[in-house]
């Protein structure tokens, strides 16, 4: 509820007011940090999963490649079976790329992992 009143207060300011914007961003950051805290505790083992930067980088790159690869293979097989070449490949390559990006974001912890009963 407090957020709503704060939001109203912000709206009075001119939109190009740099100070107000940065203050608002700060507040947002603080709120996000608060909202993330419990899930951060939950995903702690996740963070320690790849202590070294090489392992982390490698992990993320394989996630992306795997997504694209699976999309390409499924699309290619659909083309072969249904004779809809090249549409299956086009569509599933794009979907696979999206899945790869999703994998990477999950792996990097940007998108919250589907966790226990949330």
């Amino acid at each position: 509820m407090a957020d709503g009143t704060r939001g109203k207060g912000d709206r009075k300011n001119p939109p190009d007011d740099e100070a107000a914007l940065s203050a608002r961003l700060q507040r947002l950051g603080k709120r996000l940090a608060q909202a993330n805290r419990p899930s951060e505790n939950g995903s702690d083992p996740r963070q320690t999963a790849d202590p070294s930067a090489i392992a982390r980088g490698f992990r993320l790159s394989t996630e992306l490649v795997a997504g694209v690869l699976v999309g390409a293979v499924i699309g290619w097989l659909l083309d072969r079976w249904l004779g809809i070449s090249p549409w299956g490949l086009i569509v599933f390559l794009l979907l696979g790329f999206a899945a790869g990006v999703l994998n990477v974001m999950r792996g990097a912890g940007i998108v919250r992992e589907r966790r226990l009963d949330d």
């Binding site: 490698f58 795997a66 599933f92 979907l95 899945a99 994998n103 589907r114 966790r115």
Partner: protein, 251 residues
């Protein structure tokens, strides 16, 4: 005389075991190293627990550390319910770790540098998640692919992406371990061949120059030891994360 860095990964047939149809099943060096790893783990664990005492011996505390390490990982990632999969995760972790470590011994064979091995392990995990998830949660398991709070008109797209993301798991799971081991061992071999090429080709300058890759190889070997452990750990923790989906699929 260029050294072939791929040569170390060659499968050698040791002796034929049985012939099924047109396919001959042959006992290879890969199988031999797998047996060695299983034997090593068994000897280690049985030996460690044979003379249990309240004040553990060195071997016993090593086994306890291994147990505690994996148990903590499973509990923190998949929850207490995940402990029913502890034997599975512990087996995978110890197997991969031992194979990685054996592979670091010069002239030995690195089983985990073959994608067929890591893919078999990853697919086992994948199908365990799929089958156990379906048995435990029934069709509710498929809610895994349907995130909450998504507008209905983009839901089909999201579901397709989620399914692809799920299917791509065994690939990234297996490729990561395989590629790390393969790349690390090739790097070691290439640097080692630099030493030989410099040392035999250029006389005294070569001897001095050869010291650099020698130093490099010492550093790389330390790194590879870390990678060997780390990749086994990452393999185990990803197994836990995937199993967690089977135990608690999201809404």
């Amino acid at each position: 005389m260029a050294v072939d860095p791929i040569h170390q990964f060659q499968i050698q047939n040791l002796f034929p075991v049985v012939k099924i149809g047109g396919t001959e099943i042959v006992f290879t060096n890969s199988a031999a190293f797998m047996f060695a790893a299983v034997l090593g783990i068994t000897v280690f664990l049985v030996g460690a627990t044979a003379s249990r005492s309240l004040v553990p011996s060195r071997l016993q505390s090593a086994a306890e550390i291994a147990y505690e390490f994996v148990a903590t990982t499973v509990r923190s990632t998949a929850g207490t319910e995940g402990m029913r999969f502890f034997p599975f995760v512990f087996t995978i972790f110890m197997f991969v770790l031992t194979l990685n470590m054996i592979g670091l011994i010069p002239y030995s064979f690195t089983v985990t540098s073959h994608i067929i091995v890591t893919a078999a392990l990853a697919l086992t995990v994948f199908f365990t998640v799929l089958i156990y998830g379906l048995i435990r949660n029934g069709l509710h398991f498929f809610n895994l692919f349907v995130p909450k709070g998504v507008p209905i008109y983009i839901l089909p797209l999201i579901v397709a992406i989620e399914i692809l993301s799920f299917v791509s798991r065994p690939i990234s799971h297996s490729v990561r371990l395989f590629a790390n081991m393969l790349a690390g061992h090739i790097t070691l071999q290439v640097f080692a061949s630099f030493i030989i090429l410099l040392g035999t080709g250029l006389g005294v300058i070569g001897w001095i120059g050869g010291a650099l890759p020698l130093l490099m190889i010492v550093i790389l070997f330390a790194l590879e030891t870390l990678v060997a452990f780390l990749q086994a750990y990452v393999f185990a923790i990803l197994t836990c994360i995937y199993l967690n989906d089977a135990i608690h699929p999201g809404h």
